[in-house]
Amino acid sequence: MTIPDPKKRRPRTQTPWSRRQFMTRLATLAGGATALTASGIWLRGSEPVRHRAVEIVKLKDFRLPATTLHPLMAIVHGEHVEPMLREAIHQLGGINRFIQKGDRVLLKPNVGWDRMPEQAANTGPELVLAMARLCHEAHAETVWVTDVSLNDPARCFHRSGIQQAAQQANAQVFIPGKDDFLTTDMGGKLLKIWSVNRLFHQVDKVINLPIVKHHSLSGCTLAMKNWYGIIGGRRNQLHQEIHTSIVDLAAAVRPTLTVMDATRVLKHNGPTGGSLDDVARYNTLIASLDEVALDSYALGYLDLTPDKIPFLSLAEARGLGKVRWQDVTRSESQV
């Protein structure tokens, strides 16, 4: 409680205004009224909500210029992933053909599921480790590893061993949050404007590292299907036209190189697996510059033929590669 000060009591009557007082007050009010009217006119719009225009970006083409000096596909059998990968890259012309000094390289393994490496639902961590090492040997500036997982991403990257592999190879793991997607013009038949993991717009080279898996609807999850893991939004709707979607994605993202992990193959119950009974060992890596031929070749591991998989011929019709892998220059070796 404050006691009122008798000296500061409000007067009971007003004092008359001087002309100056009146003119000043009038001018101030007129100025305010003008500003108010002007801002009203300036803020007037025909749309009910004012939106900032969203910039729509396009993915760049990460491919190398074509050459006939090296085969398009290198198949390597062996026990240890790193020497196998070195051999495969060597067959295709060596890592310096793909990665130049100062390149920012993005590796896109399949890290869709909260599974262990033995369960073959994700790309093997050994392949990620070896590939990241190779990139660093070619003096890449940074090597990123990313995927848009279906299970909890922290668990997926940790339990697949890919987080540890990336750490070991001094590569950066990037788990995109909700603000890490850019609105992208995919230019597809079905996929027009979709949100894409922003890293794909910020790197110089992209290396696809898929794994061979069974998938009930498309028949298989291979190299081209692996691009499902770059988009955000309601990607579960793509299943309604899965073959066209796969081809649209493969046409939008043209990687520098693809190395398929066929050391362990998830033969049934894909793409999640979960049981070791679903997994078979083939101890093979396939590096390729032609994703269609690569996918077509890898069907052999799943006991499928290309005529059962519509997206392959659709991709060929779009000029993405050859379904008849027998017609593609290739090398096969054992390490």
């Binding site: 922290a154 668990r155 788990i175 299943h239 999640t272």
Partner: protein
């Protein structure tokens, strides 16, 4: 050289900073990547009121609850130190009462002296304990630790999350989260009218510790000869425990401010000296207490004769994996939201009234928001009361030596909404994401004739109920918006003996 010991108020401030920091730390690291071996629910475990309520409802002092003795035993000797030294809500109130809504020194007598209505907290405590004795765990509604943990987990932390400094990859959302924090904000804002009105009038834990401290030999002692009655000790008094007159030990938080504020050095903490003033005993009215206890006896029968998850198998009440059977669950869950804080998919949500009044703010899985991650057992690991048992991954998945997985419920197809059944559109996303091996969802390839007389090959899904674990990922990932085309009900849940559908399972 004279060594000056730190003042008691300084020591209290160091403790308060440490415990508040620890509370925030444990809250912030509560996720799969960071929690490691830390005891996330530590503050809920050292809460003696939660321990005693659990003991009354289920006759056992569950695991970490033994830690509550670390608070209770020293309180018997030293008084109600918890409230200003350890309790995160008490420390928040202290900041609000003294710093945010500071009052003029001249109003101290008005703001910080004892009022008879401070007794309310003892009657509230008695009511909660009687409900607990009859088998209802309702203490979580007003227990300060549960209250502040819940508010922080489901509302404050998500609200503070921003793109620049982020705690989550995807900021979670919670059902009615805002209403939970509004209560916290309300009691903090009430400091505007009286400092620590919550601690003085409502807090049942404060009342409990007040009762426990009534025999403590140590206390604030006022030397009647030195005291000149200036009332300066009241300026920063937290408990409104009348250090200027006859001290009320059950109200005092041992903030030690009065000792520092006394210009005559008339106050000290310890055993009484020869000229120390007398103390006042616990101020409760025996008749009111008896009335409260008898009245509270009616509460549980009222709850148990309403349709709730305890009295009825409710389809949408899908409890976290490892939850006890509903009747036991109701005896254990203190609505602290620790499980919701750690759930990686944001699946666990506080109920409003869908499980009944008794089960307000208990965790349920809402598959449209998230699903139960197949290999994740975090909710059971952080549950302080064992309402959700700590499971091993093997037990959850039913790997040997366990013979069947923990089921949360069963998924059902809605053929009227399911794309391949109702609209001749391919989909089976649910089959793709089904985590069991072999998958609970399977399909048959059929050829259908469309409206335009074209033939179309479609994969139409089916569910094998004995393989379904009710994790809800199918419903979560279903592209059919609004109500999904496959939905999980609690029927078939492992924890219930009655909520069953199949004879063989």
């Amino acid at each position: 050289m004279k060594i000056s010991l730190p003042r008691l108020r300084t020591i209290r401030r160091i403790y308060a900073t440490f415990f508040f920091g620890l509370f925030l730390f444990l809250l912030l690291i509560a996720d799969f990547s960071h929690m490691k071996g830390y005891d996330i629910p530590l503050f809920l475990e050292i809460d003696p009121l939660v321990a005693v309520s659990g003991l009354l409802t289920s006759q056992t002092l569950y695991k970490g609850m033994l830690l509550s003795l670390l608070v209770l035993v020293p309180t018997l000797f030293f008084g109600r130190f918890f409230c200003s030294w350890v309790c995160p809500l008490g420390i928040m109130h202290q900041l609000f009462g003294l710093r945010v809504f500071a009052h003029r020194p001249s109003l101290s007598l008005n703001a910080n002296s004892y009022r008879p209505w401070f007794r309310v907290k003892y009657y509230l405590l008695a009511g909660f304990l009687v409900v607990a004795l009859t088998g209802g765990m309702q203490i979580g509604l007003l227990d300060p630790i549960a209250l502040v943990f819940r508010s922080a987990a489901v509302s404050l932390l998500p609200a503070l999350d921003n793109p620049g400094w982020t705690i989550y990859p995807h900021t979670p959302i919670f059902y009615g989260g805002m209403s939970i924090t509004l209560f916290l904000l309300l009691i903090l804002a009430a400091n505007r009218f009286m400092p620590r009105i919550w601690c003085r009038v409502l807090c049942p834990l404060g009342a409990f510790l007040g009762v426990a401290s009534r025999w403590s030999p140590f206390g604030i002692q006022r030397d009647v000869d030195r005291c000149n009655g200036c009332n300066k000790c009241l300026h920063h008094c937290q408990g409104a425990c009348d250090p200027h007159a006859q001290w009320r030990r059950s109200e005092c938080h041992l903030c030690m401010n009065c000792i520092e504020d006394c210009p005559e050095a008339a106050l000290h903490y310890g055993l009484p000296a020869t000229r120390s003033s007398v103390h006042l005993p616990l101020d409760i009215n025996r008749r009111r207490l008896l009335e409260t206890c008898i009245g509270s006896l009616a509460l549980l029968p009222l709850m148990r004769h309403s349709a709730s998850a305890v009295t009825l198998d409710l389809a949408p009440v899908i409890r976290p994996p490892g939850s006890l059977a509903e009747e036991d669950f109701a005896k254990r869950c203190i609505k602290c939201s620790a499980c919701m804080r750690v759930c990686p998919t944001n699946a666990l949500q506080p109920t409003l009234l869908e499980a009944g009044w008794e089960q307000l703010w208990t965790p349920v899985l809402i598959p449209r928001i998230g699903y139960c991650e197949h290999h994740c057992v975090l909710c059971g690991l952080v549950c302080p009361t064992g309402a959700i048992r700590a499971l091993s991954v093997d037990e959850k998945l039913g790997r040997p030596p366990f013979d069947s997985p923990i089921r949360l419920g069963t998924a059902f197809f809605d053929r009227g909404r399911y794309l391949p059944w109702a609209m001749d559109v391919p989909c089976i996303v649910c089959e793709e994401v089904c985590p069991t091996s072999p998958k609970a969802i399977w399909y048959q390839t059929v050829t259908v004739t469309t409206r335009e007389h074209a033939t179309l090959s479609l994969k139409q899904p089916y569910l094998k109920p004995d393989l379904c674990i009710g994790c809800g990922i199918c419903e979560h990932k279903c592209p059919v918006g609004g109500e999904a085309a496959i939905r999980v009900s609690s029927i078939g849940e492992s924890r219930s003996a009655t909520n069953r559908m199949l004879l063989k399972s």
